[in-house]
Symmetry: C2
Subunit: 228 residues, 2 copies
Amino acid sequence: IIQMHRLSKVYSLGESQVHALRSVDLTIHQGEFVAIMGPSGSGKSTLMNIIGCLDQPTAGEYHLQGQRVDRMRRSELADIRAATIGFVFQGFNLLSRTSALENVEIPTQYLRRRKLTESPRSRAIEALQRVGLQDRMHHVPSQLSGGQQQRVAIARSLVNQPSLLLADEPTGNLDSTTSEEIMDVFHNLNAQGITVVMVTHEQDIAQHAKRILVVRDGIIVSDTAVVK
Amino acid sequence: IIQMHRLSKVYSLGESQVHALRSVDLTIHQGEFVAIMGPSGSGKSTLMNIIGCLDQPTAGEYHLQGQRVDRMRRSELADIRAATIGFVFQGFNLLSRTSALENVEIPTQYLRRRKLTESPRSRAIEALQRVGLQDRMHHVPSQLSGGQQQRVAIARSLVNQPSLLLADEPTGNLDSTTSEEIMDVFHNLNAQGITVVMVTHEQDIAQHAKRILVVRDGIIVSDTAVVK
Ligand SMILES: Nc1ncnc2c1ncn2[C@@H]1O[C@H](COP(=O)(O)OP(=O)(O)OP(=O)(O)O)[C@@H](O)[C@H]1O
Ligand SMILES: Nc1ncnc2c1ncn2[C@@H]1O[C@H](COP(=O)(O)OP(=O)(O)OP(=O)(O)O)[C@@H](O)[C@H]1O
Ligand SMILES: [Mg+2]
Ligand SMILES: [Mg+2]
């Protein structure tokens, strides 16, 4: 499903250049459960943003489900994201003036083909129930704890039933019990055939995946199967 | 230094009430190193905001360095915060249009008494060096990784040399090596007599403290010394 070849991302700031990703080769098949680890600033979120069609590489190729993403127009990318990808951002990216429920409903507006039979509202409520937030549906982000905001971001990523779930540090603000509940949600999705790729800095969480990639200074330095 | 008696915080949203803190009794002396743990939504950030004079309780008393904080005016609270308290927010709260260096310099403007001899700029640079961000000083938050933004927030909390450091999930976005570096910074500050109170959901990080409080449903359910 995901295929990257010699993929690079360079940020130019005035005279200096930041090589966020340097010639990354990566293949992930449908149905895999992958964890990405690595030091702060090593390129994990940059890699996730490119996988999620939110950013373009500066060199190399990226194929998603066989299509050459690095050559697509913005409107094509937007359609693919809405229909296929669920994204949990490291910084949550919730709208501050709208409730948890409204925040979770937002991706349903971008889904062109009516492939889902239930209403947007009932799908949003069900997603919030899965992350334990049914009692906080009408709170706006400033009326939610950090971990509750993180869970709203997780619920939002699930509402369009994506085939690829990308989660950047999904348990960074969650205690161990709540983190395990989120891992159960991810396991259930993966058991249904959904591809899950998550960035985490916690070894316990990474052990829930079947494969661990370690990133350092913009390259993948190790790629190992998880032994249970 | 910190004394709370029957402290409560109730949020009223329309007809419903959220009892974020229910009759908390707490004493923390100068020079302590305390970790606060507990489930998502249990009241940890609410407690930290009240300790940090960013919020007022709805019942009970809070004494900071012998003064009755729950009776002070906003200007008095602002002066105490600027002179005494360094706060690392769970959501970082960085200004998006200003660089890391400018973000770290901001608290120096609020320090009325000139108790520090070095210039604001040199203090800000030194704080960024302590968290390993000397190469990212001129980046704005959108040009920084999640863990780098978190470290800018940590550097900002140190720049006025506070006597009380409050850190809400300071390593939530940091890999284990970088987290240990931040714990070294906190240990050094604590060795100089600074009181450190941090919220964390990670047992390994909590073990760096000398005392662990566990919060559940708005009350402190356990208070134990860390055995090394
Ligand atoms: N302004 C508000 N209005 C209503 N309820 C609120 C408000 N702020 C917080 N709450 C609620 O108060 C409770 C405690 O919130 P708090 O942020 O202190 O939790 P926390 O322990 O820090 O959680 P986390 O570990 O997820 O960060 C939560 O259930 C939250 O929904
Ligand atoms: N827009 C940008 N301009 C310049 N440099 C950038 C920009 N965005 C990110 N960077 C830099 O690229 C590097 C990789 O960033 P990235 O966010 O991918 O790291 P990360 O592995 O996700 O880190 P963390 O674990 O801290 O979240 C960092 O050193 C960062 O400073
Ligand atoms: Mg990141
Ligand atoms: Mg919190």
